[in-house]
């Protein structure tokens, strides 16, 4: 199984590692050029050693570059060890090759930088290691190279100190900044939460206290608040528009609050409120309103089903039933708000009201 697991670390760590990786490649290229120049000048008694160093450098450049692509906050141990090993070999290579040129260039210094970028103490360890190698070579070497080697020694120490300190400071600053941002984000979240609770729950509680004597009203308030809070906690966040199912639930709880009663909305599937979904939402709201106002019961069942081709909505009550002929002609509720809307989007409406069994409004629209 192909699983690329990102390791965790502050963003700045990834940046520092990328910079160190870039420096490593430059150091390797620099060293390879110097070795080639020495080979071209025939400055080596044993040119084989120079070729080995070039080969190792090339391989290491590829390996390190490949590892660089994997998003890690820090070099793994084997990269640091490889850097140090190759740098140590490069330091003694001129001696082994019998070369008058010191062809390692900046790579040992860059190995120190990469190690120090990883961690301050690791930088010191690599600097110390390379210094030991340099000193070991120093005693055997040609005196004419002594100055260059002495300055190299100082350079490793300085690089370890400066880079280690700089990275340490960068981490500390970054950490402090992120902690401050975290705190601010948390404070803002808390303020949003408090504001929301104040606008919704506390308001409702105040209303409940004021209207404590009216039990239907209190129940409706509590139910509406419950649905609202549930939607806020588990539903879509304020940024996204609510889907058809959620919009229907909201319409139902509004009506519950306005007229009393209980509207149970069951939804299977969902769709954004656009086109025919908009029409079915409006018609469904009208249907619930009619049922609450005229059926004589306060319990309504609403079922929404969103299928691949169409959307179906059922609004059912067990009230007095509905007689179309008995509805005055000037009452436009059913004709315009329900049938008109649904016909306009190519859907159909059926109202069933067998005597004594309440009424069921059935709406179907194409998607």
């Amino acid at each position: 199984m192909l699983e690329e697991r990102k390791q965790f670390g502050p963003p700045v760590a990834f940046t520092i590692r990328r910079i160190a990786g870039g420096a490593r490649l430059i150091g390797l290229a620099w060293m390879m050029v110097l070795v080639m120049v020495a080979l071209a000048r025939d400055a080596m008694g044993r040119p084989g050693v120079g070729w080995v160093l070039v080969g190792l450098s090339a391989v290491w450049a590829v390996v390190a570059a490949i590892d660089q692509v994997r998003d890690r906050p820090a070099d793994p141990w084997w990269i640091t060890s490889g850097d140090a090993g190759l740098a140590a070999f490069a330091l003694v290579a001129p001696e082994i090759a019998g070369s008058s040129d010191l062809f390692y260039g900046g790579f040992p210094g860059i190995a120190v930088v990469a190690a120090a970028a990883r961690q301050r103490s690791v930088g010191w360890v690599v600097a110390a290691l390379l210094s030991v190698v340099t000193i070991a070579r120093f005693q055997i070497a040609d005196v004419s190279q002594a100055l260059a080697q002495l300055s190299a020694l100082v350079t490793y120490g300085m690089l370890a100190a400066i880079v280690g300190w700089a990275v340490h400071v960068i981490y500390r600053t970054d950490d402090a900044r992120r902690r401050a941002e975290d705190q601010q984000a948390r404070a803002e979240e808390k303020a949003t939460l408090a504001a929301h609770l104040h606008d919704s729950v506390l308001q409702t509680l105040a209303l409940v206290q004021r209207e404590a004597s009216d039990s239907t009203r209190v129940a409706a308030l509590a139910r509406r608040q419950e649905q609202e809070l549930r939607g806020w906690l588990y539903g879509s966040s304020d940024g996204q528009a609510a889907g058809l199912a959620r919009s229907l639930e909201l319409a139902a709880s509004e009506l519950e609050e306005a007229y009393g009663g209980k509207v149970e909305v069951v939804a299977v599937g969902d769709t954004p409120v656009e086109g025919s979904a908009k029409a079915i939402l409006a018609a469904g709201r009208e249907g619930m309103l009619n049922a609450l106002k005229h059926s004589g019961t306060n319990r309504i069942d609403v079922y929404l089903e969103v299928l691949a081709q169409n959307i179906k909505l059922f609004v059912r009550d067990r009230g007095v039933g509905f007689n179309r002929v008995a509805v005055p002609a000037d009452r436009a509720g059913i004709r315009d708000s329900i049938e008109g809307r649904i016909r306009a989007v190519g859907g159909k409406v059926e109202i069933r009201s067998p005597s004594g069994q309440g009424t069921e409004l059935r709406i179907e629209v194409p998607r």
């Binding site: 588990y234 069951v266 299977v268 069942d301 059922f314």
Partner: protein
Amino acid sequence: MIRVFIVDDHDLFRVGVRAGLGPEIDVVGEASEVGPAVEMIKERVPDVVLLDVHLPGGGGRYVIEGVHRAHPQVAFLALSASDAAADVVGLVRAGAAGYVTKNISPAELRAAIERVAGGEPVFSPRLAGFLLDTFSHLSPADPELDRLSEREREVLQLIARGYTYREAAAELFISIKTIESHVSSVFRKLQLSNRNELTRWAVERKLI
């Protein structure tokens, strides 16, 4: 007299349920956590366990799993304030015989307990909706899966629309017994259906 055991972590809710059950139902015990609940239910073997979906020490399904094998005759009725489909469907899959929401009236709860004690599943419109949703998300390509028959779908839809068994039977011109057998068969299919499919369904909707 039906013997009932209540598992819920809200003390006040347990008190309220106990008070609402009335004299014809015998509450033989209460528990608020999974471990003690399993112990006590095994010891007292009630007819019906009222089970909260969310419990400390794991969900309600662990209670069912802990008891079901040793005492398959104990019926579980899930009670929940949560409307998360995966939670509820998970309990039904584990073996709960029904699901009602916590805002149910005491009379409705008594009726539900009696149904479950009589070996009948209890269906609310909401549960029917959850089940239709669940089955509609099972992959049609999987041959191992028991899908709903057209008739079972129709029955579930009618229940989701608020029809009683009697009304659904009249609507489909079949007997109440046939409706009941369709409902039981839906439960059985759900309890046997492929666990991976359901897990994937829940993962896709970020429910687990």
